[in-house]
Amino acid sequence: MLGRTARGVFWMARYLERAENTARLLDAGHRMALTRDEAISTEEWRSVVETVGQTQSYQASHGTYTGIQVWNYLLREKNNSQSVLAMVENARTSARSVRTALTREVWEAINESWMNLRDLLGKPVREANLGEVLNAIRRQATLVRGAVEGSMLRNENFNFFRIGTFIERADNTARILDVKYYVLLPSLAWVGSSLDNVQWDSVLRSVSGERAYRWLNAGAMDPRGIAQFMILDQRFPRSLSFSLDKVRSNLAGLAHQYGQETSAHEQVRGLGSRIHHLTIDRIFDDGLHEFLTDFIATNRQVALAIERDYRFYA
């Protein structure tokens, strides 16, 4: 497999994952805005932009945080190189450049996603059709994932796709938790007091975890419980622990095929064993923000090691 092809598959997966997560965040933000007063919803929209790391670029062209501005900016605005539309385009461009590494099903799913979303996002998104647009983004991502699951050989191509997916997902979940925790909660004194369930609901919703969490916890909203769920729960497919485990097993798949491990394996093992031995109380004692910042940085290091070890660039 060419290093450039591995890079293309890896980034295709990351762009798709990021586009999908942005749609989730917007969905959560919108739900919040519907039920809250304006001040809180402004904060919510601000936090959405901050979570995707685009505060600076957003503020360069927008003075205020209204829903319609934020979702149009994050979904489709031309001057935003990180919009969902741009990411889907990037994913498709990556897919085109590695066309031979994909099955026809996967390529068609990506190409179709791009064609549909390009049409849907061709004009400004009004509130009336926001739900439809966000649903379409998630549905298209699901379609691609399904095509990958159902048609791709379980070889290096598949491994790089999965590693890209879960590196990106771990990053996104960590950011959501980090930003939401600090932006949304007026103070940590809220911890243990009567909680604003809607706000917590928004956090869970942005990782599509609200139902699973409620089912597991009989509906009780508790910040430690939610953090535990999003960081440590091995059953939840968007938790850090779950994502990390997938990165680890797919890296193991590569080592198996290539007959050797690389520095990325070492790093992921290190990160994995640290998380494995952690409890949520320990994380809170040491500081959730510090933990997440460190996690995001290490996760990034893993991605860089993969790029280097597998010769993504000449």
């Binding site: 497999m1 085109r96 031979t100 190409n111």
Partner: protein, 475 residues
Amino acid sequence: MSSKPASYDEMFYPNGAVRPGYAGYCHWYGQQDPSVLRRKSQEAESFFRTTGITFNVYGDNAGEERLIPFDMVPRIITAAEWRKLSRGIEQRVRALNAFLHDIYHRQEIIRSGRLPQRLIASNAAFLAQMVGLKPPGGVYTHIVGIDLVRTGPDEFMVLEDNARTPSGVSYMLENRETMMAMFPELFSRVQVCPVQDYPRRLAASLAACAPPCAGDRPVVAVLTPGIYNSAYFEHAFLADQMGAELVEGNDLRVVDGRVAMRTTQGYQPIDVLYRRVDDEFLDPLTFNPTSILGVPGIMDIYRAGKITIANAPGTGIADDKAIYSFMPEIVEFYTGEKPLLQNVPTWRCSEKDSLAYVLDNLAELVVKEVHGSGGYGMLIGPTSSKKEIAAFAAKLKAKPDNYIAQPTLALSTVPIMTKAGLAPRHVDLRPFVLVSPKGIDITPGGLTRVALKQGSLVVNSSQGGGTKDSWVLED
């Protein structure tokens, strides 16, 4: 149309009766509901869009991907017609390879006085770097496309040779795929020679040309300029179908005396490079120094016999239209046989008498640049205004060597599906030919290009032409 000689229609006799080759198809067609067929035609377009069978357009909307229009009425060639054609094609391809070998070695054909020296010496497509070089297996044009036109029941003529980089084979394959998906029952009624094994044959043919240093399973890679190239879809498609790597210039470098590709596990040598990058960009150390599409030093490895480049650099000389005009002599010189396939009569404007004739008859002729392709830079006399003709005459007089002229042929027609039903349109045919030391392999059929505008003779996709599935009937 009425001012021109009547064209030969491949489906119908002048009295409206169906020709034998089309009997099976027309019988089926008569039983179809026209509205269903129209819907199928739209389905075909969406099928092409989803599968991404597009070509990129250069110029105003650079980067935009367009579809080549596909017409659902097949172009049919009978087994007997094909047998005759393939003998002629085989002979011509043999001659082309012998010619290229000779031109880069002893140049016997020039010594014998059959071909003027200046056609080679002054030709940009002639690569001095290829002189004396022996490509692995002795093959120059591994993949050839011979463009044929038809003017009557037995009159097939070669319009041009594509020895450099014939493209379009992916359309041949996808057109068949589409027809079989849309009308499976049709293929049980009419026995059509399959084309689907072309990629497998291409892989085998390329592997058979591998250099001696290759192992039992030669490593074949397709070199593309990248996703913005107009034929990128085809490059990816062929690599995919052959199970070969699709590489770009920056994936390759010279490592330990071999051309190697950067894989996730380090550099791995390549034995055969099916390159879809022009000669000029192939090696910045030998040709265009600013090229980033090629591989620095690949020509040294090639000279050392450690890689096969398909097609060989310098084969473009055979595509030259001035050389083309000598093809009857070339075929005879190298095969010792009379050419089985005729050329279109051609006036070389470099010759004084011919130039005078061409200038006097511009309104009747088609004039082409000798190095041109894609239907650009040509004059079609009968459809041009007086002003256009005068302007072209000035260009022609200024640089007569740069042009050849041909009569405006009454190209054959095959009907296409229009809103009003079947309507005849002009077509050509590009069969694809594979060459290896093991022999010459011609895929039955090829790419039929069709001018979609009524009366138009220009079939190039860049100029609004479409394509058809091309059927060669089983015996």
